[in-house]
């Protein structure tokens, strides 16, 4: 991971952790459920929250960390609002996934597996997402975008930078310093 694209860790509001813990009995067996809820809420697993969870459920911190690093669904660094998962499965590969991926990488100025410093985007290269007929495919959070081209991907980044679910919520303006914009500018100039 390149240092410059390491996102800043936002301050952690532990009240949410307490609220999540309150949903479960204080037993080690609920660890994964709690971690899933934390991931959903914070979009990553903050250390402070995990320390609290370990103490509350009676699971040693090292074990909590072991579990948190084992499952792909968990992240220890802040993830972006939009997680773009570029399918690099066989069908998508043949139909241009590498191009799509490199376009996204240069647009967002991050490598696969990284998150933009403004926490808007995370980029991932994943295996077959099960929509081969639509290849090449990019998942934007839970929405699949198929039959993509480099142009369409550019649009995806623009709309993604603007809205919450990528469905025409253009009212949220993209700050001028967003890496996507910068990438565009540097390309156009």
């Amino acid at each position: 991971m390149s240092a410059q694209s390491q996102p800043q860790f936002p301050p952690v509001d532990l009240a949410a952790t307490e609220a999540i813990l309150a949903r479960y009995a204080a037993e080690p067996k609920h660890l994964i459920s709690v971690l899933q809820d934390l991931q959903l809420h914070y979009r990553y697993l903050p250390r402070e929250a995990l320390e609290r969870v370990g103490a509350a459920l009676g699971v040693p911190l090292a074990k909590v960390y072991g579990v948190a690093t084992f499952y792909k669904a968990f992240s220890l660094t802040p993830r972006g609002e939009k997680i773009l998962r570029v399918c690099t499965g066989t069908a998508c590969h043949i139909r241009g996934a590498p191009l799509i991926l490199s376009e996204l990488q240069s647009r967002l100025k991050i490598a696969a597996g990284e998150t933009t410093p403004d926490l808007r985007f995370s980029l991932e290269a994943v295996n077959c997402v099960g929509a081969c007929a639509l290849a090449p495919v990019v998942m934007e959070n839970d929405t699949a975008h198929g039959n993509l081209s480099v142009t369409k991907v550019r649009r995806l980044v623009r709309s993604g930078a603007a809205g919450s679910r990528g469905r025409g919520s253009a009212e949220l303006p993209r700050p001028d310093d967003s890496p996507a914009k910068k990438a565009e500018e540097s390309e156009e100039s």
């Binding site: 250390r47 040693p60 911190l61 090292a62 074990k63 909590v64 960390y65 072991g66 690093t69 084992f70 220890l76």
Partner: protein
């Protein structure tokens, strides 16, 4: 762990053609060991439950009633049972063992232990491609298990797949560590290292002060954290780790001397034994 309920009576099995007595609840490996039959192991330790991670202890298991069917099982995890017939040196067993060592050698080419075991089995060189930037860890998990059972679960296996390794929370100095060195001590390959200089001990990026003798000030082979952990966990007297061996010996000798003097004077008890507290 699932244990077959066979009552309490010892029974016999056959290992390498030899009649061997086994006890209910024990594993094939334990029975073999007692009978002096050597099975190589890497991830087994008497202080922790078997885990079956190294696969080196594979043996062939069958019974007369199994009509010739033989299974390859890990001896450390296979429960002993009446009438089992076990082979520890069959061609199939040796083949698997060579394969395991071949793989371990690809993972840890620099481990002298793995090199020696492999050579003993006729594997001079791995037939797989050697891992890039290899370290000495075979991921047997012994360190993690001993830390869990004997100490504080300060370390664990982290990440998964190719990236799996033994680590500490966020890769930093583990907050729960008490510097007991149990992990380094059980590690079969010497992957876990530590340093000790004077009265300090360093492991896992943490530095610990050693407990000092309350009388002469000499460092004891135990950290302050470890001493208080053990005192609390074993409900020991707080003074248990307070003296070094030679001061302890001197104190004991003095007590004996005093007792002898009082006895000479016809007293059955010391008039004031309060000063003689100390350990044990």
């Amino acid at each position: 762990m699932s244990e077959v309920n066979l009552g309490d009576a010892p029974f016999t099995m056959t290992i390498d053609g030899k009649r061997v007595e086994a006890r209910p609840g024990e594993m094939v490996l334990a029975a073999a060991k007692r009978a002096g039959i050597a099975i190589p192991t890497l991830c087994e330790h008497k202080a922790v439950e078997s885990f079956g991670s190294c696969r080196l202890c594979m043996v062939e298991v069958t019974k007369a009633a199994w009509k010739g069917w033989k299974g390859l099982m890990t001896a450390c995890l296979y429960p002993a049972a009446p009438d089992l017939i076990i082979e520890t040196q069959s061609e199939r067993v040796l083949h698997v063992r060579r394969n395991v060592l071949d793989l371990l050698l690809a993972r840890c080419p620099d481990s002298t232990l793995i090199q020696r075991l492999a050579a003993e089995h006729g594997v001079q060189q791995t037939s797989f491609s050697v891992r890039e930037q290899p370290d000495l860890c075979i991921l047997c998990g012994l360190c993690v298990r001993i830390c869990e059972s004997a100490a504080t679960s300060a370390i664990s296996t982290v990440k998964r797949g190719h990236h799996r390794e033994i680590g500490t929370p966020w890769g930093g100095p583990p907050p729960a560590c008490i510097g007991c060195l149990a992990c380094a001590h059980v590690c079969p390959t010497g992957h876990i290292t530590f340093e000790e200089h004077g009265a300090t001990r360093a492991i896992w990026g943490r530095s610990f002060e050693l407990q000092r003798c309350a009388e002469c000030g000499a460092p004891l082979p135990i950290t302050v954290e470890q001493a208080s952990f053990l005192v609390e966990r074993q409900a020991l007297d707080a003074s248990y780790f307070s003296r070094c061996e030679s001061c302890q010996r001197r104190a004991t000798a003095q007590t004996f001397g005093r007792l002898a003097r009082w006895q000479k004077l016809g007293l059955t008890q010391e008039p004031d034994a309060r000063q003689e507290g100390g350990k044990r």
